[in-house]
Assembly symmetry: C2
Homo-oligomer: 316 residues x 2
Amino acid sequence: MTDTDELLSIRAAELYYEENKTQDEIGTVLRLTRWKVGRLLAQAKASGFIRIEIVHPRARRLSIERRLRENTHLTDAIVVSSAGVASDEELQSRTAQAAADYLTGLRPVPRTLGISWGRTLHEVSLHLAKGWANGVNVVQINGGVSLNRRAGTAAATAVTIAHKASGAATLLPSPAILERHDTKLAIEADRSVAAVLTLGASASAYLFSAGQADRNSALVDSGYLTAEQIVELVRKGAVGDIVGRYVDSNGNIVDPELDGRTVGIQLEALRQAKTAIAVIAGSSKHSIARAVVGSGLCTVLVTDEDTALAVLGDDV
Amino acid sequence: MTDTDELLSIRAAELYYEENKTQDEIGTVLRLTRWKVGRLLAQAKASGFIRIEIVHPRARRLSIERRLRENTHLTDAIVVSSAGVASDEELQSRTAQAAADYLTGLRPVPRTLGISWGRTLHEVSLHLAKGWANGVNVVQINGGVSLNRRAGTAAATAVTIAHKASGAATLLPSPAILERHDTKLAIEADRSVAAVLTLGASASAYLFSAGQADRNSALVDSGYLTAEQIVELVRKGAVGDIVGRYVDSNGNIVDPELDGRTVGIQLEALRQAKTAIAVIAGSSKHSIARAVVGSGLCTVLVTDEDTALAVLGDDV
DNA sequence: TGCGCAGATGCTCAGACGAGCAACATCACC
DNA sequence: GGTGATGTTGCTCGTCTGAGCATCTGCGCA
């Protein structure tokens, strides 16, 4: 009985969705009343046989966004669909686009935007339209300008974002991580650096990404850390870094000594910010994304479908 | 302009399909009239952004079936959906199920059903429900009973199909391929074999599968041919076999000498049959499926989505 | 055999929806 | 600046659809 009904609901669904016949017509074909057909279709939908996907680079997953808003402390969430995505790169590009869109629509428009740097943020800067805002000043919130192999990128990111909003960029003229604590204190005390850090700490909004803790990290790439150091950090529980600071799955600093040599705003500043937008995409960043959301490091998360599901705990 | 519209239609589609809001509500949210929303949704559907899949083992692809009926000489086509299929085995199982369903619903009910043998047909026999028909006699149309490693299978297929329809099975007591042409003539002349062949040639419907031309062929498995012979056949243009006879992509016999040693009904008998149902599934059988349909060897094709598309020429 | 119950089926009705048409803006060209 | 072609927007009307309610059917039980 139920078996025949299931088969019938499939036949009805085929005629309805593929052939787009009216329920009445389907009734005629299958020798049923149109009400029965309606019920069969409802049943097919309820049983999850009907899968509707929106295949488009700009498509979002509103239901997951809603669940994120409801089940976490996040004030907002943007989840891009991963339907039809071939590579992690494409996913990151989609997410960066979504972040750019979100930033463009953000109200109130931030006067000062604190940003980190990295591949993701750089991509966001490229996706922003010229004139996305008017008069937004951008300030870097963690060090890393020099000694980067791809030297200009970090600076370019800030400059591009600011330029496209007819604002000014303020760069943090300091390495990301120093070799000695003394040096870090000294450079922080320097007027030119201190001023930027103060400005960064008072930004009206933050936009940052996160790195996973492995040998592909941007900090390794840039020569601030060695692959061995990362292994050691992972041993201590590190899942990734936010603004250059390595945290464990609870969002706590993993290595206070290392953290003491890291230049940039404190994680507390992000936790207390009114608007802190984290942009995190890709299958390798599920754990760090979970840590960021779980420990209240951001108020807004821009991410991809799978990462969002990982954050929610419905592991794929 | 068109760009904004595209984005809008995606937003509308998200609200419509994911959040299932009414078009009017969407209009309010996006500050559009409900007619505009309706048009955007239609546009999204037309552009193919909306993908509706019916995820169920018994789901079919009616639109592809229609195209097959329209663009080929086929009188009927059954195409099972490959949505959510993990393996080729699952696809074959689905297709076999569909073939069983088709056979059950076939009108007029055939008095005599000519069948080939093989893994696919065996699976069809298992999927048939007891009492699928009343009094259908089954006759084997190609040799292969003995010397098969999985000896009983070919016989079991015929017996099962007949038994479940309260009919009798007539087996063809002959090898599939003989070593000498003389022997073949002799065995064909034998009364017990000749009677079965005559019966087979007058069957009211045929049900058969096809094998691809490679070392995994059932004929190699059964020891009738060696892997080297297959390579040689492929060199001559063979794409697969139907009822034990190797054909090229135009459906012509590849090796007349070999064919002269093959026991079973002629391909012409299939071409002239009123009802000849070919059951062909799996990615390795695209070429043979194309050959079967292209050369008019069947009137009905039961297959999977990808094979159907290959037959139609929209290569994936 | 008759009774009562639960689930299935069919009907009413209001609201959602799409096709087609009219009004209007936009643009190129005269 | 006028004029028509083209495309866009909003409206009317009749159809399609789903929720809620009445009715029926099958089945267990006395």
